[in-house]
């Protein structure tokens, strides 16, 4: 057994490199802009020098002797002919220049005040950060520089100006980077404390570059195109420019060229180095490729969502993962995920060979990688990986021994993480048990759609296979679906029966009476084999069938959706219906009680059974919906008609009142606003009433059953389909004029009546008139726009919240602290309760009191 020593990074110190450090740390000095010689071999002293690392397979690094992917790359450097200002530090250099004496280099604060100011500034720096401190330094200097003279040496100070991006002027005379550097050199180290710069190992003159660090080749790999041509990285291009200009500058200086030429070249060097660091400096034209494409240089690489930090460091790509379309399978367990065979043969699980599982693992290797269940690779104790093929199989079987690792195919029962984007809450990624199935899609129990917010209209999901025992244990214990039944957001269930699962049980408990045979058949399909609890009668009531699923000692009183009492005594459903209020997610109170009493595993299993029972009931009884389900009796039709007629008359009266000036304005409103509000109110009232009418109608229909059981649809939607669609509201008001004093050219100008302002009298069943359809389209479009605008807004809010709060945790002393140990709450939520362990955020004190009193 090998023992690995894990090194842990304790901290990371940030700082500025000194010129000496750069040259000391460099593996090579770059002297020529050429990259490759005629054979295509990297030139010594060029930008692709082999001492800077390797990017070609087969070559070895000249510094560390390692091959591609092993060698991390090494820095190089070039010596600049003339110093150049680092664009990222311009503002800081400017501050320092303005705040220090031009001749003696001291800070422009009198000696006696210096200490006081420093301690003040340190405090600000500590409390409000570096930027705030910078502002304060400027203020202090401005105040203390009364006579425009240095308090230390009495030299008169002149005004320094920064002409962006990087030119300094003193009273209209340009300060060259050499002069700037000379001034920075003069500043005594003690005075640097004022600016908040680190005291050890920092000099301001390092901010003016005399030597430029060259990033390793591994950081800027070139791509070989299909034609065999090499395409260099943007950074290499930029560095090439820098080296070239630098060379020319050297040559011109040595040749004693006129000052104008040297200045020009110097400026050019400054430009190239500036764009090397940041190609988005506002005042400079960005450096481009020959094709006109803008180069991506250092700053671009780091920042933004696609930048190094957010794309590669805070987010990483994984191996052992899969993605495909999802489809429902109500017959698999809540905890299961169906994985297609083709995936199971690629995704692998490493298992270490021991004395006890040697034979078991041998079998996988024997099967090979082309048949299921087999194995794809073995890993030898020395870490070498071997592919299992027909040729290597025998050899591998021979040597396979304790200590080897077999990467076998995914089999039933393996742990996997299942995820759907956007991963908005922790239930978006849960652990499932693998169930290998034929087909090409992932299968999941429709009851877990809700936490993932998934549907089957083409959604895709991701699967990850944890590779270590530790990871698997954590996944199983902390992330398994059944452990996530209760949402930490509100302390209620997020998983429950949906759609047919609810409708079926609703019908079963409401009206069905089955023969004993049918009942047994039903129960058997949903996985019940102990039928001793089924009453021994020829005709069995639906409630009795349902009760068979419940545990014997379970008692519960609650309410169903319509407010009737649901009573379960000793596992027998005595009264009430099983609908959304008891089985559904979020509400599902009966399931919630089961969860509490019998634990998560039992609750998950029962949920599966109940769901299956509902579906089985529907598939035997038959359940469908057609246009006939939207038929309403004549009585209802007339009633709704009267209701609407009255409402329309009312609005007409309101309009008439408005024109005759009889309408009383509501407090704080104009008369026109009042009219709008009153009309809206009366029309909405009429629609709600007709909705109630439609719900209450005697005639049974499937649509009503679904709405009543809570499986799908509500009173409003039923009303919209059967009776009246109602007023279309745009931004909370009736549809307003947008087309020359009228909503549509179909109407008269200034028509305030309800049909002209978006009231849809028709129902969806009877069909909409063209003008009504148009109003419907208007609100529909508005709703689409609303969603499109909202998503990024709420996404950003979420990102900010999670970034601000991600390191808050409960400590062992029950306080909530952030990463630096600052206390945010002394007791989480003021009472230390975990929301996901409570019922809607509270402990059920009343229930406990009742229980005790009843004893």
């Amino acid at each position: 057994m090998e023992f690995q020593v894990y090194k842990k990074i304790k901290n990371i110190t940030f700082g500025v490199f000194s010129p000496k450090e750069i040259s000391d740390a460099a593996a090579a000095k770059v002297v020529t802009p050429e990259l490759y010689d005629r054979e295509g071999y990297p030139v010594d002293g060029g930008l692709m020098d082999l001492r800077l690392g390797v990017i070609d397979p087969g070559l070895r690094c000249k510094t560390c002797g390692q091959k591609l992917k092993e060698c991390p790359g090494h820095f190089g450097y070039i010596e600049l002919a003339r110093p150049v200002i680092h664009i990222k530090f311009v503002r800081h250099i400017f501050d320092v220049l303005k705040s220090t004496c031009k001749s003696c280099g001291r800070v422009l604060i009198a000696e006696q005040n210096l200490k006081r100011h420093i301690s003040l500034l340190n405090q600000i720096g500590k409390e409000e950060g570096f930027e705030a401190r910078r502002r304060k330094v400027k203020e202090v200097i401005r105040k203390s520089k009364v006579k425009e003279k240095c308090p230390h040496c009495d030299t008169k100070q002149e005004k320094i100006k920064l002409e962006k991006p990087y030119n300094f002027y003193e009273e209209d005379v340009r300060l060259t980077p050499i002069e700037v550097r000379a001034r920075l050199e003069k500043i005594p180290s003690e005075d640097l404390e004022v600016f908040g710069f680190t005291l050890d190992h920092f000099r301001p003159e390092w901010l003016v570059l005399t030597i430029l660090q060259i990033p390793p080749v591994t950081m800027r790999p070139s791509i070989t195109l299909e034609s065999g041509e090499r395409s260099e990285d943007d950074l290499t291009h930029k560095l090439g420019d820098i080296v070239r200009i630098n060379q020319r500058l050297f040559e011109n200086i040595n040749a004693g060229a006129p000052e104008v030429i040297i200045e020009d070249l110097w400026d050019l060097l400054q430009y190239h180095i500036t764009t090397f660091f940041d190609n988005e400096v506002p005042q400079l034209p960005p450096a481009r490729h020959r094709g006109g494409q803008i180069l991506k240089t250092l700053t671009n690489r780091i920042s933004s969502k696609e930048g190094r930090i957010r794309h590669n460091l805070a987010g990483k790509r994984t191996d052992f993962s899969a993605r495909t379309v999802i489809s429902p399978d109500p017959l698999i367990q809540l905890n299961d995920v169906g994985v297609p065979f083709s995936m199971a043969m690629i995704l692998t699980v490493p298992e270490r060979v021991t004395e006890w599982n040697k034979e078991y693992l041998r079998k996988y290797v024997e099967t090979g990688s082309k048949k299921y269940p087999g194995a794809n690779y073995i890993i030898k104790p020395d870490g070498k990986r071997k592919t299992i093929t027909d040729e290597t199989k025998d050899e591998i079987l021979q040597e396979l021994d304790v200590g080897y690792i077999v990467e076998r195919h995914l089999i039933d029962g393996d742990t996997a993480l299942f995820n759907r984007q956007p991963s908005l809450h922790r239930m978006s990624m849960m652990c499932h048990k693998v169930k290998v199935l034929p087909g090409k899609t992932f299968r999941l129990n429709p009851a877990v759609c809700n936490p993932y917010n998934a549907d089957f209209d083409g959604d895709e999901m991701n699967l990850h296979i944890p590779q270590t025992e530790e990871a698997r244990a954590e996944a199983k214990i902390l992330m398994l679906v059944e452990t996530q039944l209760i949402s930490p957001r509100y302390g209620l269930s997020v998983v429950g029966c949906i759609h047919d699962g609810i409708t079926g049980n609703y019908l079963l408990t409401k009206e069905l009476v089955l023969t004993r045979e049918e009942a047994v058949d039903l129960l058997y399909t949903c996985g019940v084999d102990d039928l001793s609890h089924l009453p021994n009668k020829d005709k069995v009531d639906g409630k009795e069938v349902f009760s068979v699923l419940l545990p014997r000692d379970f008692s519960f009183t609650g309410k169903d959706k319509s407010g009737n009492e649901v009573r379960i005594v000793n596992g027998q459903l005595k009264s009430g219906l099983m609908d959304k209020a008891n089985l559904g997610q979020e509400s599902g109170l009966m399931l919630r009680n089961i969860y509490e009493k019998y634990g998560s595993a039992y609750a998950a299993e029962l949920l599966g059974k109940i769901s299956k029972l509902g579906i089985a009931v529907l598939s035997r009884r038959g359940f469908t919906m057609g246009i006939g389900d939207l038929d309403v009796g004549e009585e209802v039709t007339n009633h709704v008609h009267d209701l609407l007629q009255k409402a329309i008359e009312e609005t007409e009266k309101l309009i008439a009142d408005y024109y005759s000036g009889k309408l009383e304005p509501l407090p704080g409103r104009t008369i026109a606003e009042t009219l709008e509000l009153r009309i809206l109110e009366s029309l909405n009232r009429a629609r709600n009433k007709s909705g109630d009418m439609a719900m209450k109608q005697v005639q049974e229909s499937s649509a009503l059953t679904m709405a009543r059981s809570g499986a799908r649809g509500n009173a409003l939607q039923i009303a919209q389909m059967t009776a009246v669609v109602g007023q279309q509201a745009l931004r909370g008001r009736r549809i307003d004029v947008g087309y020359r004093k009228r909503t549509l050219s179909y109407f008269k100008e200034n028509d305030l009546s309800s049909p002209a302002r978006g009231f849809i009298r028709s129902s969806f069943r009877s069909g909409l008139k063209p003008n009504e359809y148009f109003f419907g389209a208007m609100t529909g479009r508005d709703a689409l726009m609303d969603t499109a605008l909202r998503t990024p807004k709420s996404g950003y809010l979420y990102r900010r919240l999670s970034n601000a709060m991600q390191d808050l945790k409960v400590n062992y002393d029950n306080t909530v602290r952030d990463a630096s140990g600052r206390i945010v709450q002394f007791l989480y939520g003021e009472d230390g309760l975990d929301v996901s362990k409570t019922k809607n955020g509270i402990i059920e004190v009343k229930k406990i009191i009742q229980e005790v009193l009843e004893q």
């Binding site: 990074i9 304790k10 901290n11 990371i12 110190t13 940030f14 500025v16 990222k88 950060g129 908040g196 710069f197 680190t198 920092f202 920042s303 930090i309 908005l424 809450h425 922790r426 902390l478 930490p488 957001r489 209620l492 407090p667 704080g668 009153r678 909370g732 605008l789 909202r790 807004k793 709420s794 996404g795 809010l797 979420y798 919240l801 999670s802 970034n803 601000a804 709060m805 991600q806 808050l808 945790k809 909530v816 990463a819 630096s820 600052r822 206390i823 945010v824 709450q825 989480y828 939520g829 003021e830 230390g832 975990d834 362990k837 409570t838 955020g841 402990i843 009343k846 406990i848 009191i849």
Partner: protein, 380 residues
């Protein structure tokens, strides 16, 4: 019996949170025996112990998720009409963003002013409402007359309005005189004349004057733009658009305990940080409830606490809460990474890798949950 019960409950202080104890004492019947109570408390205690949060739980992220996830379900509609007679209020997502940003000026500042008993009846409340409403000079003017040659501005006042607001015109002239410099003010009956004292310079000066005069507060309380007396349960209250908590609370009729504003920063200035924290919780919770969403109050509390730990209200932005983080890499991973890296280099900052993102970056276990405890195993 009551005393005995109280004593028993007191014994458990410290073992059970106060809110739970209160719930017990308010729900038990008075006929309860001591043993029964003891049993109840013990049972509640057991339930409490089971429901307690585990150390290492990443409560911050859970809260962020709990608020962020339903964010997509909130409406973007800025205005909503709660009932007919109420005022426009920013609700939904924009309001939540406004609160969490700790924006200095909010879109719809609002106050609910409760009055002490004798004043909270219909007649008095109307008078009070009229009294606090800010009246600006501009509202009383019926005509402006600019005389450019004489550098004169003549203003004709609306007499009817003045009487309605019970404003004395002489008083008004005095008030204006005090506020205006560089002009002689002459007032007769219903007109006011402003004559430039200095040399006639530019017309602009007169225009500026006109603009300035318009916004002079004549009466009422500054910032209270609209007032609306409303019936709440048994009493009448005043809803205002525009806030001025400080001056309103100083009025003797006002019930200072219940009167609130919806401007978090104002509350912080007037009532202090704890009030601001409570205001954040209340305001956010109100919006969430109005949207029909269910988010546990603990999550909102935590956000409010994060925003207020420093003693001032900090927004959940790169300038607020995020800038307070100790770790350079954590700040850099949020927004403006280069700026943070540059400043860190100059300052010589050290990142001790105590929070989440830094450890994700360098592939180390995160110090939360199962990554928190360190296990040392003795090798035999």
């Amino acid at each position: 019996m009551r005393k005995e019960q109280e004593e028993l409950l007191q014994e458990y202080e410290g073992q059970l949170p106060l809110s739970v104890l209160e719930e017990i004492s308010s729900n038990i019947p008075s006929s309860i025996t001591k043993t029964q109570l003891q049993k109840i408390i013990e049972k509640v205690k057991e339930a409490y112990q089971i429901s307690k949060i585990n150390p290492g739980e990443c409560v911050g992220l859970v809260s962020a998720e709990s608020i962020g996830e339903p964010g997509t379900q909130m409406t973007l509609n800025t205005f909503h009409f709660a009932g007919v007679s109420e005022m426009n209020v920013t609700t939904g997502l924009p309001r939540i963003i406004e609160i969490f940003d700790a924006q200095k000026s909010i879109k719809t500042p609002l106050m609910e002013i409760f009055l002490k008993p004798p004043h909270n009846q219909l007649e008095q409340i109307k008078k009070f409402a009229a009294m606090i409403k800010e009246t600006q000079f501009g509202e009383l003017v019926s005509e402006y007359a600019l005389n450019i040659f004489d550098q004169k501005l003549k203003i004709v006042l609306n007499k009817v309005l003045c009487e309605e607001y019970s404003i004395d015109i002489k008083e008004l002239a005095k008030l204006v005189r005090a506020k205006i410099k560089g002009f002689n003010v002459q007032g007769t009956d219903d007109t006011l004349e402003f004559i430039s004292k200095g040399k006639p310079e530019e017309i602009k000066q007169l225009y500026d004057l006109k603009e300035k005069i318009r916004t002079i507060k004549v009466k009422g309380i500054k910032g209270i733009m609209q007032v609306l007396p409303v019936k709440r349960d048994e009493e009448y209250i005043v809803l205002t658009s525009g806030t001025n908590l400080k001056e309103i609370l100083e009025l003797p009729e006002v019930d200072t305990q219940r009167t609130i504003s919806n401007d978090i920063n104002e509350i912080h200035e007037v009532l202090g940080i704890e009030a601001a924290r409570q205001a954040i919780i209340d305001e956010v919770y109100r919006v969430i409830e109005a949207q029909g969403l269910n988010i546990d109050i603990r999550h909102i509390m935590l956000v409010a606490d994060v925003m207020c730990t420093n003693g001032e209200v900090k927004g959940v932005t790169r300038y607020g809460v995020v800038s307070e983080k100790a770790s350079v890499l954590a700040r850099a991973s949020f927004e403006t990474p280069v700026k943070h890296l540059i400043n860190a280099a100059l300052e010589g900052e050290i990142d001790y890798l105590t929070s989440v993102v830094e450890n994700v970056m360098i592939n180390q276990p995160v110090p939360l949950g199962t990554g928190l405890p360190g296990l040392i195993i003795k090798m035999k």
